[in-house]
Symmetry: C3
Subunit: 214 residues, 3 copies
Amino acid sequence: MKHLFEKMKPKEDKFFDQLHQMGEIIISVSDQIIDCVKVSNHDDALKFYRAIKDLEHKADQVQNEIFEALNNTFITPFDREDINDLSATMDDIVDLITSCAKRIVLYNPKHIPESAVTLALLVREAAGYLLDAVNELASFKKRPERIKSLCASIEETEKKADDVYEHFLINLFENAGDAIEIIKLKDILHELERAADAAQAVGKRLKTVIVKFA
Amino acid sequence: MKHLFEKMKPKEDKFFDQLHQMGEIIISVSDQIIDCVKVSNHDDALKFYRAIKDLEHKADQVQNEIFEALNNTFITPFDREDINDLSATMDDIVDLITSCAKRIVLYNPKHIPESAVTLALLVREAAGYLLDAVNELASFKKRPERIKSLCASIEETEKKADDVYEHFLINLFENAGDAIEIIKLKDILHELERAADAAQAVGKRLKTVIVKFA
Amino acid sequence: MKHLFEKMKPKEDKFFDQLHQMGEIIISVSDQIIDCVKVSNHDDALKFYRAIKDLEHKADQVQNEIFEALNNTFITPFDREDINDLSATMDDIVDLITSCAKRIVLYNPKHIPESAVTLALLVREAAGYLLDAVNELASFKKRPERIKSLCASIEETEKKADDVYEHFLINLFENAGDAIEIIKLKDILHELERAADAAQAVGKRLKTVIVKFA
């Protein structure tokens, strides 16, 4: 009896809490990657990678908790598949940042260009909008304008990240000597550009949720 | 009162018009990119890139109008999240073509191979099928065969684009001297191949819509 | 009359059969690619590519049959768009493996590293979990634990595939001489890594289906 009652009780807050947690982890990995792309030696890179890896495990746990909670809750604040998609897409951002850090450690490039820091800062900016947007989920039905404007900001940030990535590539080609070094740096920064893309993908999911309740 | 009435009035035509507009923009950017990959000097490339960039802004506007209309309309011709996804995926095609043009301008490759023209023509072909398919949306419930056959044509075109891209790569590797030039051209043509992929993704969305009403 | 009756009769078994078929094709292409990456001459590679290409055609047929069946059946075991998405995403795995084989034939690399075999074996492992998971679809509402644990195994396999791919890249960079050979091998193995990603994408779709029925 108690179990059923537990299952029927609306647990809206729980999902908002969990998505908020996910958003905070994204903030933390973004902060770490800003420092990670600034390192000049392998040991420091390894230190940041380990911290990021720990956060990635946490994100996986939260995503799993959300999935399990969805399987044990009758009433959800919006479509259960959208909550699941949202948390999975947020987890993608964490995975891509982790992959960027991992590649820095593995490829051990001679020098990481300044544009990597700019890209990381843009990912951090998008992460900030994202956390704000997720925090709006509890009240977006009453005031959708705020979350819509945050989604627009994420999109703009993604366009900026595209620009930075493309200008990084021109510089890379122009100052190039070593083709292997080019491939390494391209691969490392590409993960950051993809992280910005993933933030935009979360924005799209949020817009889908909004549209359903219009 | 009037506002509520306005909101309740079916506005099917509006969405079909807007998706049609989006389809026409895709046709226009495809036409532009065909000429853009043929250029032999940087100034001409820049001219085409600017024209494409303008069209990209237009596409963003239309996508935004669709999103806003979805938020202000009670009755939609099919699921509102599908209309939103459809317009977002159509916008992806425009973004990838824009990115191709931008890379031509930024990387300034020595020579763009003929296969880029072939790829651009295939993207244009897919765009034609896509516009026809979108125009069928108003009547697909009565006659789904036409839209299904157009989706199949888009898929075939995408397979052709894959082939062209892969054969371009072999030629690139065989005649290769400069690794940096290889990376540049690979990156430029890859955006066109991805544009064909995005057209296929729109085809998949259309099939999802059809399946829901089967 | 008969037609309508035919259309109304639940045809759950048919969809489970078709998805099972799709899963078996994935197993077969995975088996073929394991041998294909071991070849040391172009003729053998061509032989495996042709066998894989035949299987790809079969997968396209099954996918089309599923789509047509969805358009001719009133009652489906779960949301028709999810069945369609599931078969489309399963088909993506087949396409990526085919693309890997095609690139081996087209690029004709000097030597395929051992890590390609490891990657192919991981794709095969994921394919095994996937087939088991698809076979659970008929009964997951009664016992969701099994399918959930299989999805978790697919995710773990994908992480392993990521690791193998990244370690392959370090070795490639370390022992590098020829930048073109690097680009070729990177491209070939990347398709296998993407095949593992696609398996994970199927896992995500399965979780969406589970969540909807929670």
